[in-house]
Assembly symmetry: C2
Homo-oligomer: 261 residues x 2
């Protein structure tokens, strides 16, 4: 039986045994003695090596999993989590010069990076505006809004969900209510309707995902999500859209350029 590359437990330490074991494995990952995708020793091997009960080992593995360092696969083993390639969202991705090429931002970017974009689960409804949305849109609470929800995928992998809210008096009866909102996306439609877009405000939060988000985005355990809420303002400073997106923090880096003026 091969020796495992982990030190012995420190019996004098007041650090709990399962934490010490987690520390050993974490160290091995951080100094790259274990690489992305490598299989960890099995629970049985770790039990033997450390001479502890199975629950103690499972506790240690649980710590690593909730830190997002490992993933367990039933029947196969526990593996060092590998990170998918990162998508960078630049702050100018909604600039008009891009939109005028006739493609929505997501499609254009993904194709440019050599991926196959697709959009999924498109639903359009009319609802009363939720309070936060009403506030951002400058509407009375409960005012009618058109709600477009959809899911974005790259090469078949879900990467982002998005829900857009538009005041019904702007969007009702327009192509924005169609599942396929046409070339250039809803921002192009808004400009055709005479709402010349002036600026966006993006608010970024991050948190652990809800259960449905884990499912919809196929998230690994221990991976938080970004929640980005973008409000689009027309030239008269009227808010014309609020877009609420959720994306895996694993797959995204957000990038903004700011003037120092």
């Amino acid at each position: 039986m091969a020796e495992l590359p982990f030190p012995e437990l420190d019996a004098h330490s007041d650090r709990a045994v399962f934490r010490q074991i987690a520390d050993h494995i974490r160290d091995a990952i951080e100094r790259e003695a274990l690489h992305e995708g490598d299989k960890l020793p099995s629970e049985a091997q770790l039990m033997q090596h450390y001479g502890v009960a199975r629950m103690t080992i499972r506790n240690a593995l649980q710590v690593l999993q909730s830190e997002g360092l490992t993933v367990a696969e039933h029947g196969r083993g526990v593996f060092v989590r590998s990170r998918p390639p990162v998508r960078r969202l630049a702050s100018d991705r909604f600039a008009r010069r891009h939109r005028e090429r006739g493609k929505a931002a997501f499609i254009a970017e993904t194709e440019e990076a050599g991926g196959k974009p697709s959009v999924d689960s498109i639903k359009v409804t009319e609802q009363a505006a939720p309070p936060e949305v009403a506030q951002l849109l400058g509407l009375a609470a409960g005012a009618p809004v058109i709600v477009r929800s959809r899911r974005y995928l790259i090469n078949g992998q879900p990467v982002e969900t998005a829900v857009s809210y538009l005041p019904a008096d702007i969007a009702k009866g327009t192509r924005i209510e169609q599942p396929d909102s046409g070339p250039g996306g809803i921002y192009a439609r808004l400009e055709e309707l005479g709402y010349r877009l002036d600026r966006f405000v993006e608010e970024i939060r991050s948190r652990m995902p809800f259960r449905e988000e884990v499912r919809a985005l196929k998230l690994a355990p221990g991976v938080p999500v970004f929640n980005l809420v973008r409000t689009a303002y027309a030239a008269d400073s009227r808010a014309v859209e609020v877009c609420d997106t959720v994306m895996s923090t694993d797959a995204y880096v957000l990038s903004y350029e700011l003037p120092a003026r």
Copy 2:
């Protein structure tokens, strides 16, 4: 003995018992039958209510904790996690008009919001630039940089750690090397040195914290961190500073305004 406000287990469901229990409690929190700061029923009470072993209850509680919904306090109980007031970082917070008032951004903002700002653990060293930093600064790998690290607190609570890197040929021998970099902070010093700041680029990531970050920021379990890396460019497009900050996602909302042009 009071009835607990949770339904019975569904014996036919193939969802694991501990997950069903976690679902019940999560539901109660989400529909606000349990409010922020409320104490959950004790492990013993839950065991009795559901008629299961203690480890099953603990498993359920573990799920909620790693979702960031609850915190356990040794000897006291398990509580619905309460969120601290949120600090909003606006994208214009480093605008020159603010800086010229002679206060660093953090100090000014915090006082404005009625908090008592402080800065902590200030360390200044000269080191070889780490690879990512060298790349952002446009320096050769290993070029000498001045490294300023510090921790920011509001009312004594740590909220953010920051490490700034400046090319040694710019900062060496200047007040930037002093622990107290003077009124207006290092951006003010850079402008005095003739590096008129032109723009910033901020890159935002989010992930679960490392162990040291949990300690330094006193993070609750299940709370991810923002990692914001800001590069400051002078008018000649030379990168003059890289600032690597880590903050609790609990305490911050990041906000950016973008032109639609």
